[in-house]
């Protein structure tokens, strides 16, 4: 070590009273050998310094001009934070190293200067990295690069931002063949996948990427809030426990109260303030608040001015707040890894254990919370989602590459095919995407004269016109948000709500946003104008895609614990009584069979299946079940799904043979395809794909302010395309996306094949205790199954219905 660590570094560590951690030394050693590595360490373990140490030492030993190290983080805020944390030791050691950030917030003159004269270390995001790669001087900028560091890698490998980054890495391989790669990650179940993800050639990933493990921190102390009140049967808001949450906050120095959705954040925040007799400083933080609001809360938090902050996943990652001594998780944690990540926000210091209290919102969530605590204790994490990269993202990347330089399709395909994310990609699909990018890729070769990419004399693809490069740069990125309106209170912008929510408001309606009671005035352009105060029951804005489904791992833990009554001692009395009542009339769900209860109620026949496959898979299942019930003449009337259970109601009950037919795994054939093609889910997915792939744009040069006028209804495009070219590559990309995401087809398929022969039907004369929660959800959750036209008919006959254009 002494040999590897120059004197000035050793002195600096000593001056702080620190000694380098074992994993920091290992990283340095690997760095000097030029190895790619993946460092897995808990939060607060000096992970960031471990990542940069080899670069700092190399820059000290071999001073060089140009960009030496590129750091990529999923959060803008994190680049700022790292900048501050890294500048300090560099200045104290007097190193000749420049460090700069580059994000969407960086002023354009600085960005231009950075391209001409890059710093030694550049801190950036996946989107800004993609932009840099699209410049004609990309090879100059990255030519000197020695090291690439990707922070919070686990937060990137399961989404499209990660796809974009993976493609950027594939390109970097030819621009900077010498650059070694470092991944920094929180603890994950399957490090091998991250190793392969990071490797330039995924087939050899585990051999070429060295795995370095940090010392695990002390075990966190987690408990479930034992509420004194009545444990709700259903619902997700946990408002019953607000008094108790308040008491927890009061006892803590600084607490983060994590919730699962933005709507829940607003409600809990208001409920806490309504009983805040001690005037505790409680703040609110979620992704739809304006950036200024959020920065303010973060700054107050960093200065230790807050007693508590109610937050969504907007605070899951990143910034170090040493003073947080308590994490409260309100609502079910949904996964062990996610819970660990959140718990890690407390005592963000390596040697102290974190403290967390879980607050289940209903009885099923109590089971889930207990399962998550067991998971943390036994350190069994959720499986990592190994995703196939999106073809829409590939389309975006190919345009970006062409903006920078003419590319050879064979070489480009090979580089991309070598990544873990796109290892699945066939040459045919690659060519189809290339065709799509060039002129739309339609069978009818209508747009040959308008090509965006042209082929030069060497057979390489290049951009046909600079204006396409400008278009690309204005639209780079994979985060597609639902159309939103900015909430204005006087001159102040509070944040954003989805247009869909705004459409439901009538002048005078009240709603809660940014922790305030607001009264809707009107919509003007992209603004929702409102004033403070008002009367009546306020609405709460909901946002799409807010809820994560229950992880497979947690689900199987819940099944196992339900089977074993001796385990139930761990549950609060109310929950124990509930389960005991269940076995009086039926059985509890178990891992070996799929429990399905059937009972009559109010002239309807109910079917309740305890699948534990997560909301998305259940909704897909509900659609398919009702279709089949229709065919069997059972007269289905509707269904409702939660993370745990799916319930249908119909005119007639299925018998045993019909039940087997209903749950037969072959339902994932034509029915599924028919339904998905028609569903609004697919249209939403198509919109995202169309935007990412560049079929339509979020922004167009010179038209930034009139978003409405450039937006073409993607629903119409989808319908036209489906009628005329159902095999079009963009429809296939959409289908793949929907199958993996919103419909969770893979999980449903697993479920159906596992229990194909093991359906356990219980015929009851009335609703069972465990079925009560799902029946209470009816009317609260949207009921699916009605075609839009039927709904419109229903509305026409209804006095309540009103044209509200």
């Amino acid at each position: 070590m002494a040999k590897q660590l120059p004197q000035v570094f050793g002195d600096w560590f000593e001056s702080r009273g620190w000694a380098p951690h074992r994993h920091q030394k290992a990283m340095l050693k690997a760095g000097l050998k030029g190895e790619d590595c993946l460092l897995i360490a808990p939060t607060g373990g000096g992970k960031t310094l471990a990542g940069f140490l080899p670069s700092l030492v190399d820059l000290y030993n071999n001073p060089s001009k140009g960009l030496h190290t590129l750091y990529i983080s999923p959060l803008k805020a994190l680049t700022v934070d790292i900048h501050r944390n890294l500048t300090l030791p560099v200045e104290e050691m007097g190193l000749d190293v420049t460090i700069e950030t580059r994000t969407g917030d960086t002023p354009s003159h600085k960005r231009q200067r950075q391209r001409k004269k890059p710093p030694s270390i550049l801190l950036t995001t996946p989107e800004s990295f993609a932009l840099l790669l699209s410049y004609t001087d990309a090879s100059k900028i990255f030519g000197s690069l020695k090291c690439l560091i990707i922070d919070e890698l686990h937060a990137l490998t399961d989404n499209k931002r990660g796809d974009l980054l993976a493609l950027g890495l594939a390109r970097l391989k030819s621009l900077a063949p010498e650059a070694r790669r470092i991944g920094l990650s929180a603890t994950v179940a399957d490090p091998a996948y991250l190793q392969r993800w990071l490797a330039p050639c995924t087939a050899k990933g585990e051999e070429t990427t060295k795995l370095i493990l940090g010392k695990p921190g002390p075990k966190p102390k987690i408990s479930i809030l034992k509420t004194k009140g009545r444990m709700p049967w259903s619902g997700h808001m946990a408002l019953h426990a607000v008094d108790e949450i308040y008491a927890l906050i009061k006892d803590a120095k600084t607490a983060i109260v994590f919730v699962n959705t933005r709507a829940q954040a607003e409600l809990i925040f208001r409920a806490l303030w309504s009983i805040n007799e001690d005037g505790l400083s409680i703040a609110l933080h979620h992704g739809s608040l304006s950036p200024e609001q959020r920065r303010k809360v973060e700054a107050a938090m960093a200065r230790g001015l807050l007693q508590a902050v109610v937050a969504t996943s907007s605070l899951d990652l990143g910034i170090d707040w040493g003073d947080v001594d308590l994490v409260v998780q309100v609502g079910a944690p949904k996964g062990v890894s996610r819970l660990l990540q959140r718990i890690g926000r407390s005592n963000h210091q390596f040697d102290k254990s974190s403290r967390a209290v879980l607050v289940p919102a209903n009885r099923f969530e109590t089971l889930e919370c207990q399962a998550a605590i067991d998971g943390v204790k036994e350190h069994t994490l959720d499986g990592v989602l190994e995703r196939d990269g999106g073809m829409d993202v590939l389309a975006q990347h190919l345009i970006g590459t062409a903006c920078s330089e003419a590319f050879n399709p064979d070489q480009t395909y090979e580089d991309i095919h070598n990544t873990a994310t796109y290892a699945y990609l066939t040459r045919e699909d690659f060519d189809a995407i290339l065709h799509f990018v060039s002129d739309g890729g339609y069978a009818l070769r209508a747009y040959e004269q308008y090509k965006r990419l042209i082929i030069d004399e060497d057979g390489n693809y290049k951009i046909a016109h600079q204006r396409f490069a400008r278009q690309y740069r204005m639209n780079v990125g994979t985060i597609v948000e639902a159309p939103t309106l900015r909430v204005k209170l006087g001159r102040k912008t509070l944040g954003e709500v989805e247009e869909y929510f705004a459409q439901m408001l009538e002048p005078g309606d009240t709603f809660i946003f940014a922790g305030q009671l607001l009264q809707f005035k009107r919509i003007r352009e992209v603004f929702l104008e409102c004033k403070a105060g008002g009367f009546g029951t306020p609405k709460v804005p909901a946002y799409g895609g807010g809820r994560l489904p229950l992880s497979t791992h947690l689900a199987s833990r819940v099944r196992t614990m339900l089977q074993d009554p001796s385990y139930w001692r761990k549950f609060p009395k109310q929950v124990r009584d509930w389960l005991a009542a269940q076995i009086d009339v039926s059985i509890t769900p178990n891992p070996d069979s799929l429990l399905i209860e059937s009972f009559p109620r109010a002239d309807r026949e109910f079917l309740v299946a305890y699948c534990f496959a997560g909301r998305n898979a259940h909704q897909t299942l509900g659609m398919l079940l009702t279709k089949r019930m229709e065919r069997l003449g059972l007269g289905p009337l509707g269904f409702v799904a939660t993370d745990y259970v799916i319930a249908t109601w119909s005119l007639r009950a299925p018998n045993k043979e019909q039940l087997a037919e209903l749950f037969n795994r072959d339902m994932l054939g034509d029915d599924l395809e028919d339904w998905i093609q028609d569903s609004s889910l697919l249209k939403r997915t198509f919109r995202n794909c169309a935007v990412i792939a560049g079929l339509i744009e979020r922004r167009h040069p010179g038209e930034e302010k009139t978003r409405k006028q450039v937006t073409i209804s993607t629903d119409l495009i989808y319908d036209v395309l489906r009628r005329h070219e159902p095999d079009h590559i963009l429809l296939r990309a959409t289908w793949a996306d929907a199958a993996a995401g919103l419909t969770d087809v893979a999980r449903l398929s697993d479920l159906l094949s596992r229990y194909d022969k093991n359906l356990e039907l219980k015929r009851l004369d009335k609703v069972s205790p465990m079925a009560v929660p799902i029946l209470l959800e009816i009317g609260r959750e949207s009921v699916y199954g009605s075609a839009q036209d039927e709904l419109l008919d229903e509305g026409s006959d209804d006095l309540i219905a009103e044209a509200m254009g």
Binding site: F436, D439, G440, G441, Y442, L444, A446, Y447, Y450, R452, H465, R467, F468, Q471, G490, Y500, Q503, M504, P507, G508, K521, R522, E529, K531, G694, L695, I696, E697, T711, I712, S713, L716, I717, V720, L721, R723, H724, E725, H728, S782, V783, Q788, D789, L791, L792, D793, E794, G795, S796, D798, A801, E802, A803, M804, G805
Partner: protein, 241 residues
């Protein structure tokens, strides 16, 4: 619902004349045996393609197929188009040969009466006459509705692509629609890739302050919803801010 009407249609009466609104967004005038359509926006997709946004090149074919089917359904012998028949002045030049052939056939089969829109102002290149306004008895056809209609005169226009949003069971559904009052009818856009403007938008609602009826286009039917008279309260409210 009137059983004597053709399938899926709704009756609209303007200046004692009967009109049948059809779920495709076309309007039939039995007395003239005329099909009235607004805002075909032919070759909209290729207009975007020129700018590098490759919308599916099937919009003109869809629109013309739909138009032909509607004309045959009613056994119309003439077609009135209320302007913006082409997305821009270059549309006909860009139109692929196969579509052009289909279009020419339709031109020969029916008698066409063209009204000029704001998207297609240069008719001379196409070799037919376009009108700012056509008056038949007490009924005016034009592209953009006028604020001051002479008394006794009714008007049918297009331009705004009206669409209505209705709240049903907590969901907002949005559909193109006909919107009309005693003497004024604004037609939905007939083109297959045309978006819409909410009827609540002041640009439209200012013409229907006394309230209106909307007919939302469904798959096989029209759905009737009433647009209430405009509320003045909203205005006084904003002045306080």
């Amino acid at each position: 619902m009137n059983k004597d009407l053709p399938r899926g249609c709704e009756l609209i009466v303007l200046s004692d004349q009967h009109f049948y609104a059809h779920p495709t967004g076309a309007l039939y005038w039995p007395q003239k045996q005329a099909l009235i359509v607004a805002d075909l926006h032919l070759e909209k997709a290729s207009h975007f393609a020129e700018k590098g946004r490759f919308l599916p090149p099937y919009d003109s074919a869809e629109t013309l197929n739909k138009l032909e089917a509607a004309a045959r359904f009613f056994e119309a012998n003439q077609i009135f188009t209320l302007g913006d028949s082409f997305h821009d002045n270059e549309a006909l030049r860009r139109m692929p040969a196969a579509i052009k052939a289909q279009f020419s056939k339709l031109l020969a089969t029916f008698r066409w009466n063209w009204i000029t829109g704001n998207h297609d102002e240069e008719p001379e290149q196409r070799g037919w006459r376009q009108h700012e306004v056509l008056r038949f008895g007490q009924v005016d056809l034009r592209h953009i509705t006028t604020p001051d209609l002479p008394s006794g005169v009714s008007e049918i226009s297009g331009h705004f692509h009206p669409k209505a949003k209705v709240k049903v069971r907590g969901r907002v559904l949005s559909r193109p629609c006909f919107i009309y009052s005693r003497n004024r009818l604004i037609m939905p856009a007939f083109g297959s890739l045309t978006g819409g403007l909410a009827v609540r938008d002041p640009a439209i609602s200012t013409f229907f302050q006394e309230g209106a009826v909307t007919l939302l286009l469904g798959k096989e039917n029209l759905h009737r919803y009433r647009l209430p008279p405009s509320k003045k309260t909203i205005k006084s409210d904003t002045e306080t801010s």
